[in-house]
Amino acid sequence: MLDRQLTASATAPADAATASTLTPLLAVEDLHVQFDTSRGVVHAVDGISYTVDRGEVVAIVGESGCGKSVSSLAIMGLLSKPAGRVTKGRVLFEGRDLLKLSAEEMREIRGRDISMIFQEPMTSLNPVLSIGEQIMEPLFIHLKMTEGQANARALELLQLVGITDGERRLEQYPHQLSGGMRQRVMIAIGLACNPKLIIADEPTTALDVTIQAQILELMKDLSRRLNIALIIITHNLGVVARYADRVNVMYAAHIIEHGTADDIFLRPLHPYTIGLMRSVPRLDLPRGIKLETIEGLPPDLRAPPPGCRFAPRCPYRLDACVATDVTLRDLAPGHASACIRADEIVAGALVQAAPPAKSAETAVTIESAEPIVKVEALRKYFSVPLSGSGVFSSKVATVKAVDGVSFTIAPGETLGLVGESGCGKTTVGRTVLKLEEPTDGAIRFAGVDITHRTSKQMRELRRGIQVIFQDPYSSLNPRMTVGQIIGEPLHVYKLVNSKKEQEERVAGLLRQVGLFDYMAERYPHQLSGGQRQRVGIARALALEPRFIVCDEPVSALDVSIQGQIMNLLEDLQSRLNLSYLFIAHDLAVVRHISDRVAVMYLGRIAEIADRDALYADPKHPYTKALLDAAPIPDPRVERARAPRALKGEIPSPLNPPSGCVFHTRCPIAEDVCRREVPQVRQIGPRHIVACHKA
């Protein structure tokens, strides 16, 4: 690496200087990408243009299917062949058109001048090659390093990305590392040859919020120090606000607005951008009663509508919007919008400022009411076989997935349950549903102890307890129609007497969740993600439950759809007096929907409080860290916040730390934290915390 840096700076300092002032590092011009599918040609990217300067962080934001990932794969020459192809346009990298290069010339650029970091750290590393082999590979190929040089460089890279015991890590295989570690390795691979540009495609989407903050901080820092330009592709507006210099907003294969981060967040000039901003629940603003949403769905890219593609969903639509082709227009230096009414938006005549969020009802306080769900000292232990166990004795380790969790939920109340992956929040949900047998503790539903009920005895009670799952793609049986899926519980519990009655009930349920009766005939794959989640909700409602466990019900959905589903859940709650256990990892989502919030860490409750108390005045250092780590979609707020990423990884639940499980990552831990398990203490009205120092 050193060789390359030296030669580069020695031979062409003048060239580089002039080149950098004249041309941007990367210029994408009128790029078109098409995909052949069995159901027609999809115009995945339809004439986008943008530039990236040296050392700059550019974000491409948009919802799934808008073409943001496809356009970056096209830049890299990595479109899946033969289905995908670039039909038009140029991609100029330092003045050379990448699309005109031969496969071999393009290969030389990949990994050396431009590298890419992918979304899924779990699957993006080769399982049968060691970490060392994978990091050193580009060094051998592009820089012709010897074994010794490559090894030294690999160690240097691991240090750079914050992996300390590099020697040992190089020998390890991907499955032996955590998700965050793997993403660091991916970044190390991306940095290996000192590229000029790194494209990061949703680099932190699969990671927990505290790990996400670490990784993003690292990438931004490296980009500044090594003067590497960065393209961040993401759907997370908070990430954009914290890290991007400039932002391109994509919708349905077009770039519909671009500008600096401040432009986009503070002075958005396209109705879609405005809608997107408003449909995200925010941690820094008072909670509104309802999320604003963008109604409808993005267009089908096989036959996109004429004119402005957002027009069908746009509240400010004119006839002219669909009659004329729209193009990006500069409205201020460096700030362009594709809306024909952008001038009106600039003038402030068109779009009302976001309604002053009514600091709304404070959470319902139903202390006197008999709780509908009462969980006391719940424990759920799993046995996992240890590797290397003996011949006839198999050694078993115990994972304390849930270790003494207590909470209550009142009728009509929503309890939010937050925590990072592996903290046991989903296990709590499954145990309350009696899908898992509790190891210890008690679960009461409507006053009845259901802890040790067999599934047969649960049958009648199960009507009152339902569940909505995270993944609307895999939780609906693909061989059943929507009508069969929703009708099945009615049939099982003999709540309907005839087929006709069942159909009527299904139609009613569909309408209740904002779908149409005719959708009963469809199969899940014919619906969009948001529609599928609505079907999941309708199925849960079929038995007229009183309590629903919502396990990450919106985390697989796009921002604009997420808002619709959350509004629906709130709506149903107030109409049907439902209680929710709302499990999620997104603090802003939980804040929006919950009356009270419980924070979990490694199987234990860290803190439970009324929503407003918890967010305004968190007592547990873990709650504080979570709130600090969550990015907020406002660049002003983000600039004012010091990066205070929580250090370290979540410890393995196989071998949890002694005393307070959080002490290994806690900034204020003392001796007592290492020795003694903190008791859950009441520190305010309805506010409990498990911390020695709170």
């Binding site: 990949r110 890419m116 992918f118 993006s124 399982p127 049968v128 190929i141 592009h142 499955h175 590797s387």
Partner: protein, 317 residues
């Protein structure tokens, strides 16, 4: 690894005991025994007295439980006994035939694997082109054509084009390699076609799957040469499921080639199997079943160990 191997070897014991019990009692359920077949033949008349005498000599008059204990004791001391028909040791009878069957199986495996890897890989890489279609047609042929019939075609072809037939007497390879190979290469090809087809299709589909994996995209994004992407990143992962298929097919070839052995007039395990069942030669059948069971379990173990060699997730699981 050693510990694991030992563990697995010990786990073989209950499996083998189960097989032993099953084969012993299932044979006893079949009406008739070796004495009747031997003495009465096709409708000859022999006095009941002679039959009883012969039964007594072979120990078939003893109570079933006694015979069973005797048999299990023999197994425990690795003594398979003597054949009730030829009255030579079972191990001797088997080892004669095993030499042929094992050689055919090994040759077929080499033939199949050497052909299947390039065929499967090319088909996957050229998916949807005429090359892919040719490979798919050829391999579906391999799956649908019975190997004995393909063997007959080979023989007819040799006769028709060269007016020559392979030798029909077996010469061990260490005596005369040329004579040995000219005889055994044809049956190896006949069964190898099917074998190759199964493996090639497996490699094609698993390679197609692997090529869609995220880590292949990562490798390309690193600027790895396409050749290396295929050989180092993709094939190493794609071969894993093929190893299982290769192991299972190999184990099947020992003892599974009943008809093909007839076509090529090979005195292999399959032929011996049919013979000894027709003769109700209990000891020999039991010995062969046990041998095959050991073989199957052993091949399985080798497959699992190979997995561990190729896949670190199993090595350090």
């Amino acid at each position: 690894m050693l510990r694991y191997t030992l563990h697995r070897l010990l786990q073989m014991i209950p499996t083998l005991i189960g097989v032993a019990v099953l084969v012993f009692f299932m044979l006893r359920v079949i009406p008739g025994d070796v004495v009747e077949v031997k003495l009465r033949g096709d409708g000859g008349t022999v006095s009941q007295e002679v039959i009883e005498q012969e039964r007594k000599r072979l120990g078939l008059d003893k109570p079933l439980i006694y015979q069973f204990a005797d048999y299990m004791y023999g197994l425990a001391t690795l003594d398979l006994g003597i054949s009730m028909w030829t009255e030579r040791p079972v191990t001797e009878e088997i080892s004669l035939r095993l030499e042929i069957s094992l050689q055919v199986a090994i040759m077929a495996t080499i033939f199949a694997v050497m052909l299947a890897i390039p065929l499967g890989t090319t088909a996957a890489l050229m998916r949807g082109t005429w090359v892919d279609y040719v490979v798919r047609i050829v391999t579906i042929g391999g799956l649908s054509i019975p190997s004995f019939w393909f063997g007959m075609l080979i023989m007819m072809g040799l006769l028709y084009f060269w007016n020559w037939l392979p030798p029909i007497t077996f010469t061990p390879i260490y005596v005369d390699p040329v004579a040995n190979l000219t005889q055994l290469i044809w049956p190896a090809m006949a069964v190898g076609y099917r074998y190759c087809a199964v493996v090639a299709r497996m490699i094609r589909s698993s390679l197609l799957e692997v090529l869609n994996e995220d880590y292949i995209r990562t490798a390309r994004a690193k600027g790895v040469f396409e050749k290396v992407v295929i050989s180092r990143h993709a094939l190493r992962n794609a071969l894993l499921p093929a190893i299982t298929v290769i192991g299972m097919e190999f184990a099947f070839l020992i003892g599974g080639l009943v008809v093909t052995e007839q076509v090529f007039n090979l005195n292999g395990i399959g032929k011996l199997f049919v013979q000894s069942v027709a003769r109700s030669d209990f000891t020999l059948i039991q010995g062969m079943v046990m041998m095959l069971a050991v073989f199957y379990v052993f091949v399985n173990l080798v497959v699992d160990l190979l997995y561990a060699v190729f896949d670190p997730r199993i090595r350090y699981g």
